[in-house]
Symmetry: C2
DNA sequence: CCGTATCCTGATAGATACTG
DNA sequence: CAGTATCTATCAGGATACGG
């Protein structure tokens, strides 16, 4: 039902050593997530982000700067007929790797939060089969918390934590 | 490279219909995520949450109430020798289903944010094989954004959105 | 030890207004 | 249309203090 942990039982476990904290830090806040989501939906233009996220323009502007400096989004100039060059926004490959995060959130939200029909469906392009986020190890898939163990990555001497700050 | 979307191209896409927004709303904030993470690590007692997340007690308290009302965490009374009954905190099954979300975040953070060695390793208990979060459809695995299509789940009349709010 | 109420500060979002 | 600066309101988070 929970991770077998050598972890929770041993001393302090500081948030600053955890990726979750860093991710939340880097991606910042709710609006950043919404913006990234929109990127996945194919949105590239500033005002579209504003419209489709329902977030104010200044907030989008700020989010973009955060995402840019986090290496999640890049500005890609584009040019419409008779307009001057503008910036479009696109996910970097790092940004695209956020797909599991977003999808996992959507999946969870659709399951536990939405009352009515799920607002969107994600399917594999060719087969049309529903896409799912899975936790797996190599061949084995659909692991739950009970199947998973958390380890420290072989600290030099595991005995009494001498080298650890 | 991005979702084929009928979506981004069509009218307004409001944040309030999206699960991401709801999830962010329900789970609230950075500390809630850290608390949930700790739950996965097996932490159950209030002060342990405080210590191991590095978050202040009031913030943990608030987070717990949010998580409780979101159905992610339940209080489970426990009793130590010579102490009175206290509340422990445990993930519900809904809470446990957040595993992919957390793991995906950790994975991304370890890849793109952490400078040194990844702080923690997740392995399958028996085989010791590293656990990964994957996006897949049935047999097909490791899909990327390019393989995925977003659809509306057959709204009654797709033409002009009459029945929609 | 466990947990919450209160108060205060800093971050974040919206409204408005302004530039190209 | 595409952004950003400013200003203000709101909210999350820490310190402190207090009750079980």
């Amino acid at each position: 039902m929970k991770f077998e942990n050598r972890l929770a039982d041993r001393g302090r476990w500081r948030a600053d050593r955890c990726s979750i904290a860093s991710v939340l830090e880097a991606l910042g806040t709710r609006t950043t997530f919404l913006v990234v989501r929109e990127c996945f939906y194919g949105t590239t233009r500033f005002d579209d982000f504003v419209d489709r996220t329902g977030v104010s323009a200044p907030a989008v502007s700020r989010a973009m700067r955060m995402l840019e400096s986090a290496g999640v989004v890049v500005r890609v100039p584009y040019q419409d007929e008779g307009s001057r060059v503008r910036d479009g926004y696109q996910l970097t490959s790092a940004g695209e790797d956020l797909l599991p995060v977003l999808l996992a959130m959507i999946q969870w939200g659709d399951t536990y939060l939405q009352e009515a029909t799920p607002p969107l469906v994600f399917v594999e392009r060719n087969s049309g089969r529903p896409v799912k986020v899975r936790v797996s190890a190599d061949g084995l898939d659909d692991l739950g918390p009970a199947d998973i163990e958390v380890r420290r990555p072989v600290p030099r001497d595991l005995g009494q934590q001498t080298t650890r700050s």
